[in-house]
């Protein structure tokens, strides 16, 4: 599967995750978010940027707890919980936020 954006073709898997992680850019993120019905705000970008930084270091998305802690540190303790993340990414912070951040889907019993 694939989609076209600004004259370039981007390959995705059956579930809409980017196949080539290096294809990602901010426009791609906006497009993927739109497909998910998510309107990207600064708060979303905080999460996306953290996910990408973490992935670059560890080659995997962070545990939900690691993510909530990092967001709490950055944006205040009232936002350091998974409920806040679900408000931003209703289909689940792990899967939906990873998709928009251009990371592979977390697999397993999650």
């Amino acid at each position: 599967m694939a989609f076209e954006l600004n004259g370039k073709t981007y390959e995705t898997d059956e579930e809409g995750y980017l196949v080539n992680l290096s294809d990602w850019n901010e426009d791609v993120a906006k497009y993927l978010a739109q497909q998910e019905g998510v309107n990207l705000t600064d708060a979303h970008w905080e999460v996306i940027n953290f996910l990408r930084d973490y992935y670059n270091e560890f080659q995997i998305a962070p545990a939900v707890r690691v993510l909530t802690k990092a967001i709490g540190k950055k944006l205040g303790p009232e936002k350091g919980n998974s409920q806040y993340l679900y408000e931003l990414f209703p289909y689940g912070p792990a899967k939906q936020a990873c998709k928009i951040a251009g990371l592979p889907k977390p697999t397993g019993c999650v």
Partner: protein, 513 residues
């Protein structure tokens, strides 16, 4: 991804058999594994372009499995279509699709068996309901054998003791062999081969996560509880589903495991090489796959020099560990071949090998080595969901029914408010969460939501009657599945959690031991 449009079943006043809706779930099929995923497991990459080639390979594999597993042949022959199993399947109850009656789902395979492997079927196929294997029929296998969670509830009611899960496994194994594998399960097995766990968490990520947990627990309790990784010479190797490192609420139980070891003063470790308890090789019954996954745990145990092996809260893991590890990786007692003896020499014979984390904790409680502030759980009204593989395919505590009693005993030792769901939905006749056996993937959400219906119905009753606000379970799949499907039935996703999450809340971390 917008959720699919489908109807959520309505709660019933009485548990009536639903009116049949033929073909209601014929559209349900998981994503097919890519060539790359298939080949990493040693399976053919994709279906042959030539149907005859696929047909011949499928029948040949079927014949091979019948020769190898006498049980499969018995299960193919023994069914008399009595109908006992028909209304016992959560997918049938939730979807009303008659092909989700276990007998009908198996008939997809049995009809082929009769055609190719029985005299009557070879000579008079029409008289005995024997069918040629066609592409359409193979597609039906793919659709309906991925609407079975191998939970074996129907088997409990089968007068011939037919193990339905084994039939599903054989069908999936044939599908895998001809290049028609399921993406979700096979991609995950590939990650275990390559990285060591279902999530693909590399060692440094595990280390970072565990370090973060140590900080959190210190902040919460003021106590330095350790979550060691690759600690040489530890007494216990704890093998747990990798979701415990990653997901909510799973990680709350993992925090609890560490507190138990701390309070009991027993040295322990995780392994970055064997960082997965779950064994998805079970889902297609492929012995080679199961063995390869299980051997990682053997290697880690030998390298770390541990004396005990404990398995975390994971249903399929415990079935494989309890029932198959003795031959798969030599963890167990009694065998006298060199492969088994090597580990038996190392492991402490005073303890069951492997032990379930619930056996481990309950043993400590009985010895008086753990103390609890039960009132710390007073904000919870708790019920317990028996996970199918633990309930129907294993034991704990070395006696029949221990697998039901021990998790409940722990809950009652750490909390004051416990109630049971309806008796026809717990213990050996428990209903599957709807996500087991390789069904826990987003594209099967309709089957998952509908399959969860009988459990949701039973839960609704205790929520209404007793104000239950916590359903404890000891399986990573159950936890992930319920977190996802509870909201479809109007419940809070946080209503599900682990038994060791409750332990974690109430345990005293001082110097009691």
């Amino acid at each position: 991804m917008a959720d699919l449009e489908f109807q959520i079943p309505k709660y019933r006043e009485y548990p009536e058999v639903p009116a049949l809706q033929p073909g209601a779930m014929a559209h349900s099929r998981p994503h097919v594994a890519s060539e790359k995923i298939q080949e990493a497991l040693g399976f053919q990459g994709k279906l042959d372009d030539d149907w005859q080639a696929t047909h011949d390979k499928a029948i040949a594999k079927f014949g091979e499995l019948l020769g190898k597993y006498r049980s499969l042949k018995v299960f193919m022959d023994a069914c008399v279509h009595c109908g006992s199993c028909t209304d016992k399947c959560h997918y049938f109850i939730g979807t009303s699709d008659p092909k989700n009656m276990p007998v009908a789902r198996q008939e997809l395979m049995r009809s082929v068996y009769r055609r190719y492997f029985t005299l009557a079927g070879k000579l008079f196929p029409g008289l005995v309901g024997a069918k040629d294997l066609t592409r359409e029929l193979l597609d039906e296998w793919y659709s309906y054998f991925w609407q079975c969670s191998e939970c074996r509830r129907c088997s409990v009611f089968c007068p011939y003791g037919i193990d339905t899960a084994e039939v599903t496994m054989a069908a999936r194994h044939i599908l895998d062999t001809v290049g028609y594998g399921q993406k979700y399960s096979n991609e995950i097995i590939g990650k275990v081969f390559k990285i060591g766990n279902n999530l693909g968490l590399p060692g440094p990520a595990l280390e970072d996560t565990l370090q973060g947990l140590e900080e959190d627990v210190k902040e919460d309790t003021g106590v330095d509880v350790k979550y060691p990784l690759d600690a040489q010479g530890a007494e216990v190797l704890l093998v747990t589903p990798s979701a415990d490192f990653f997901a909510e609420p799973h990680i709350e139980s993992l925090i609890g495991y560490g507190k138990v070891f701390h309070a009991a003063g027993i040295s322990w470790t995780f392994s970055s090489y064997a960082s997965e308890a779950g064994n998805f090789g079970l889902f297609d019954g492929s012995y080679e796959t199961m063995r390869k996954v299980a051997l990682r745990i053997r290697q880690a145990a030998l390298e770390l020099g541990v004396k005990r092996i404990v398995v975390g809260e994971c249903g399929h893991a415990w079935r494989v560990a309890y029932a198959f590890w003795n031959t798969l990786n030599g963890i167990g007692a009694g065998a006298n071949d060199p492969f088994a003896i090597e580990l038996q020499k190392q492991l402490d014979p005073r303890y069951p090998q492997p032990s379930h984390i619930c056996e481990f904790t309950w043993d400590l409680i009985q010895q008086g080595r753990l103390k609890f502030d039960k009132e710390a759980n007073d904000h919870r009204v708790i019920t317990f969901h028996d996970s199918c593989n633990v309930a129907r395919a294993s034991r704990m505590g070395g006696y029949p029914g221990g697998q039901f009693d021990i998790p409940r005993n722990i809950i009652k030792a750490v909390a004051n408010n416990f109630v049971e769901m309806a008796p026809e939905t717990i213990r050996e006749v428990t209903f599957c969460c709807g996500g087991g056996g390789g069904i826990l993937t987003d594209e099967l959400i309709e089957a998952r939501v509908k399959g969860a219906f009988p459990r949701m119905e039973a839960l609704q009753q205790v929520v209404e009657k007793h104000g239950v606000n916590f359903m404890a379970t000891i399986c990573a799949i159950c936890k992930a599945q319920f977190t996802k499907v509870l909201p479809y039935y109007g419940f809070n996703m946080r209503l599900v959690g682990g038994v060791h999450q409750l332990v974690s809340t109430a345990i005293r971390l001082g110097n009691e031991h």
